[in-house]
């Protein structure tokens, strides 16, 4: 069983009191008993000596009457004097106080020599104990007899017992009183310690608004008759002014507790208000909790700021497309951003604390390790482009590794920053391809220009031969075929020339319906061969649009060609025009019943060189050029596949609808 502090104090105090009481009782009783016995002994001796002196004359005179009178008077002095008798020099009794004869045993039971002043023996008569005193009777140096005196020990013992009982009761009473007083004072101590303990627990639970110290009867402003309300100690009931910094008392030394306490200890307020050690402890505890609270608040604010800054920094790190990582001197990753996690393909918590060997293949890790060691050794940054081959895709990364220098100039870590340049690399490749295509285009334009004349000659001659040929004959049919294919070739050459030639735009007001109607025949024939029908829905009273007629035609041809490619064979292409009064725009809908566009492809549909067609079938420039022309004319193009309800303006469900809007121009 563990005893509480109060129980220990009570037990200790009670034990000490008990011990002290018993010791005192023992000593006092012992001393008093000894004193009483000594006094009794001295009394017996005194009586004996006096009697011996008195006995000299009657003994010399053999005056038995006087001797008897003396011893009888002596016995009557006190009821504890049991007997008295006188022995002569021959040790024969002269007179005695016994009735019915003299007890023989008493003659020799206690003797005193001439050299002794007295002799004491304790006699046991069977009924009671008797102190027998023997005192010699001298005349000068001559012994003439002996006085014997018997004092009842029972009387003495009773007196001693009374004293012991009184001492015991007194000690018990004192212990009781001391116990009550001790308990009272102990309670004041333990109560305050309990308050301190509860305050400590409160503080441990996080509650620092605790008041452990008692309120004072008079505070510093009362004692000093102060009315400085701006003083931090003024009306601060729970904290002492000597613990409070910045007090305005004229006798105060500026500063906090450590600086001012020596001065404060001489102050009247301190001398009047300072309590005992426990009160001082409680007061300093209150001050400490207040100070702790202030520090915690400061720390919380600092942590909040730090957290905000860290989050801000992390946000910046995470938002920037570049990946960033920080390794320590042991090449362990200490911090990474989201881009890094994305590159690695692992979450942050699975990267932090790991090394390259945990994250990359052995070969890659060894390469990176070598680079890192070199950076540590040379203390110079490393810039490189790295190809990262993954199971799904291959990525190109531009990486910068910078040594992080510590205060002593040594390299303490490596900051690695990099970005995904895969697209850039692709663009570079496409640019290279484009340059190649541009060269091919220029070559093609040259070739087309050169073959345009022979084609004109072939067509002219073919038409001349047709005039001479019979319409039903095989020659006529063949010539017709030559004429037709020559025209196709000339059309191709013409398209190539028009595509490759940079011509000046001729801006004019255009009737969209008319323009479409002029464009459709160019491709309609070819489409029919693939059983593709073009259905027109021209809106009436459309306003004009401003633009280059040829470029508009190219837009329509590109869109119709794209629809044709989407349908393949057997299908319908719908063209509808309309006017959006609200936005004052002319709208052209081009829909087809083709295979549609995959959702992931729609966003990239207008990117240059993006094509879903087989190699050699498309350049990926058609829709990109279309987008550029529309954009140049202030228009917009949008594709929906499948079309939304608002966009599906056709009776038949379309797979893909291109919606082009041009600003309307009113006359």
């Amino acid at each position: 069983m563990k005893l509480g502090f109060r129980s220990k104090i009570y037990l200790g105090m009670f034990s000490l009191l008990l011990l002290l009481g018993f010791m005192t009782l023992f000593l006092v009783s012992r001393i008093m008993s000894e004193s009483l016995l000594e006094e009794n002994r001295n009394r017996g001796i005194s009586i004996g000596v006096n009697l011996a002196a008195l006995m000299v004359e009657p003994m010399l005179a053999m005056d038995f009457l006087r001797m008897k009178t003396f011893i009888d008077q002596t016995v009557q002095l006190s009821d504890d004097i049991f007997y008295t008798f006188v022995l002569n020099a021959d040790k024969n009794p002269l007179v005695h106080t016994f009735k019915g004869g003299f007890p023989i045993d008493l003659k020799t039971v206690n003797s005193v020599s001439d050299r002794q002043k007295f002799s004491i023996r304790l006699l046991d008569t069977g009924d009671q104990l008797i102190y027998d005193y023997a005192v010699p009777i001298f005349i000068g140096n001559d012994r003439i007899g002996t006085i014997r005196l018997g004092l009842l020990r029972t009387k003495v013992r009773k007196a001693i017992n009374r004293i012991v009982l009184s001492a015991f009761l007194s000690t018990g009473f004192v212990i009781l009183i001391a116990g009550f007083l001790g308990a009272f004072f102990a309670r004041t101590v333990t109560r305050r310690i309990k308050i301190l303990h509860e305050s400590t627990e409160q503080a441990l639970r996080g509650n620092l608004d605790i008041h452990t110290a008692p309120l004072l009867d008079k505070n510093c402003w009362d004692i000093m008759k102060c009315d400085k309300q701006e003083c931090p100690a003024y009306e601060n009931l729970h904290h002492r002014c000597w613990y409070t910094a910045g007090t305005l008392c004229p006798t105060c030394v500026e500063g906090e507790y450590a600086k001012k306490i020596t001065s404060c200890q001489k102050c009247l307020v301190y001398r009047k208000c300072a309590g005992d050690e426990i009160q001082s402890f409680a007061e300093s505890f209150d001050t400490m909790t207040q100070s702790l609270k202030a520090h915690i608040l400061e720390q919380q604010n600092a942590e909040k700021i730090l957290k905000n800054q860290r989050e801000l920094l992390q946000t910046i790190l995470d938002v920037i497309p570049d990946f960033v990582s920080l390794q320590d001197s042991q090449f362990v990753y200490k911090s990474v951003n989201k881009a890094f996690c994305k590159i690695i393909g692992k979450s942050e918590d699975k990267i932090i604390g790991k090394t390259n060997f945990d994250l990359f293949t052995q070969k890659q890790a060894e390469t990176y390790q070598q680079e890192d060691l070199e950076i540590f050794k040379m203390s110079k940054p490393l810039i490189k482009e790295s190809k990262l081959v993954g199971p799904k895709e291959t990525k190109w990364l531009h990486v910068v590794k910078i040594p992080v220098l510590e205060a002593d100039g040594k390299v303490g870590g490596i900051l690695c920053s990099g970005r995904d340049i895969t697209e850039l690399k692709q663009v570079q490749e496409l640019l290279s391809q484009s340059q190649k295509m541009e060269a091919v285009g220029q070559l093609t334009a040259g070739i087309a220009h050169e073959i345009n004349t022979p084609l004109g000659i072939i067509l002219g001659y073919a038409q001349l031969l047709l005039e001479d040929a019979t319409a039903d004959g095989q020659v006529y049919q063949d010539l017709t075929m030559i004429e037709k294919q020559t025209k196709i070739c000339r059309k191709i050459v013409s398209d190539l020339l028009r595509f490759s030639r940079h011509t000046e735009s001729v801006i004019a007001l255009l009737d969209i319906n008319q323009l479409i109607e002029e464009t459709i025949p160019v491709v309609e024939h070819t489409f029919k061969l693939d059983r593709i029908t073009i259905i027109r829905y021209y809106g009436s009273d459309l306003p004009s649009v401003k633009g280059d007629k040829d470029k508009f035609k190219q837009v329509f041809i590109n869109l119709l060609g794209n629809a044709h490619d989407a349908i393949g064979t057997a299908g319908t292409i719908h063209i509808k025009t309309d006017y959006d009064k609200k936005n004052n725009e002319v709208i052209i809908y081009v829909g087809d019943t083709g295979s549609g566009i995959a959702p992931g492809e729609i966003d990239r549909l207008f990117d240059p060189f993006y094509t879903t067609k087989p190699v050699g079938k498309g350049t990926g420039l058609g829709l990109s050029v279309t987008f550029g022309i529309i954009d140049d004319h202030g228009g917009r193009i949008k594709v929906e596949s499948p079309p939304s309800i608002t966009s599906n303006v056709f009776d038949k469900v379309q797979s893909t609808v291109f919606i082009i809007r041009f600003p309307a121009v009113h006359h």
Binding site: D105, L123, F168
Partner: protein, 309 residues
């Protein structure tokens, strides 16, 4: 904690033993076995008594060595006894209870006259005088008494009506100087028994009486009790024979002879005798007979004292 509590309990256990004294071991006695006191003197005892001019203790101290010496020298069973008063002493001589009497000359003439006692030796005083005298004293600060005539009408305390140095010699001296007993305002005697010479000095010193009469030498005896300078000696009486040893009538003369012979042997110059004589306050003893005391008998007659009284 347990040890602490055990110690407390042990102390509590010791409490009942408080006050006990283990050192005392009583001796068993049987008070029921009794006897009657029987003090029978042997029949051949020769009793020796010193006239109780002083207390019994002083008498004992002065004469017990002498008694022992006589016992030793004579082979007799001599025992000193202590009469309480002069009268008692005289009566005991008459009752044959005192065989050898050592008394002043005045008492001697009385016991000789009344009971036929016979002087056989007398002492020589410490100043080698075979006689002694009385002194008349008063307080030193008593300016009214300077001479013997100043004693007229004063209160007088004497040792005893049977005292020689303390009364008779002084009375004779007063009569010789024309002062009768009736001329004193008061004549008292010191209370007894014993110590009467000292009692006179102390009474005068206390101022109770104007004058006192004592045996010469008494002031030395009381020197340890009072300052003797505070006592003035007004006058000294003429010298009379010193103290005397007498045998009662009827005592065997051989015994008297033995004792006298032993007494005369005492020589102050002998080491073994010196302390005996010093204790007895005289330096030697000389042979004497009844004729040596005729002057005393004459003095008694002069002052009108009957030896039969």
């Amino acid at each position: 904690m347990k040890k602490f509590l055990s110690a407390i309990i042990l102390l509590m256990g010791l409490l009942p033993s408080v006050g006990c004294n283990q050192d005392e071991r009583p001796v068993k006695v049987d008070l029921s076995k009794k006897e009657q006191v029987n003090l029978k003197e042997s029949p051949d005892v020769i009793t020796y008594a010193y006239l109780p001019q002083y207390s019994h203790t002083v008498s004992y101290q002065r004469h017990h060595l002498l008694v022992e010496f006589l016992r030793r020298e004579t082979g007799l069973n001599i025992k000193q006894i202590f009469p309480d008063t002069f009268e008692h002493h005289i009566k005991m001589v008459g009752q044959d209870k005192i065989d050898i009497s050592y008394s002043n000359p005045f008492i001697y003439v009385k016991i000789a006259h009344r009971y036929g006692a016979q002087a056989f030796a007398r002492i020589v005083e410490v100043y080698n005088q075979e006689s002694f005298r009385g002194q008349i004293i008063c307080r030193a600060d008593n300016h009214y008494i300077k001479t013997i005539s100043d004693c007229l009408g004063k209160s007088w305390i004497a040792v005893d009506s049977t005292s020689a140095g303390g009364y008779l010699y002084a009375l004779g001296y007063f009569v010789e100087h024309g002062i009768q007993k009736t001329d004193f305002s008061e004549i008292s005697f010191a209370p007894g028994p014993g110590g009467k010479q000292e009692g006179v000095v102390l009474a005068v010193h206390a101022g109770k009486y104007d004058i006192g009469t004592i045996r010469e030498g008494t002031l030395n005896v009381v020197a340890d009790k009072i300052d003797t300078n505070e006592i003035q000696v007004i006058a000294r009486t003429p010298l009379y024979p010193s103290w005397v040893y007498a045998s009662r009538a009827g005592l065997d003369t051989e015994i008297v002879k033995k004792i006298k012979t032993a007494m005369l042997k005492l020589d102050y110059n002998k080491k073994e005798c010196k302390h005996i004589l010093e204790a007895a306050n005289f330096i030697r003893m000389i042979s004497s007979d009844d004729r040596d005391f005729d002057s005393v008998k004459k003095l008694a007659a002069t002052v009108g004292i009957s030896l039969d009284e």
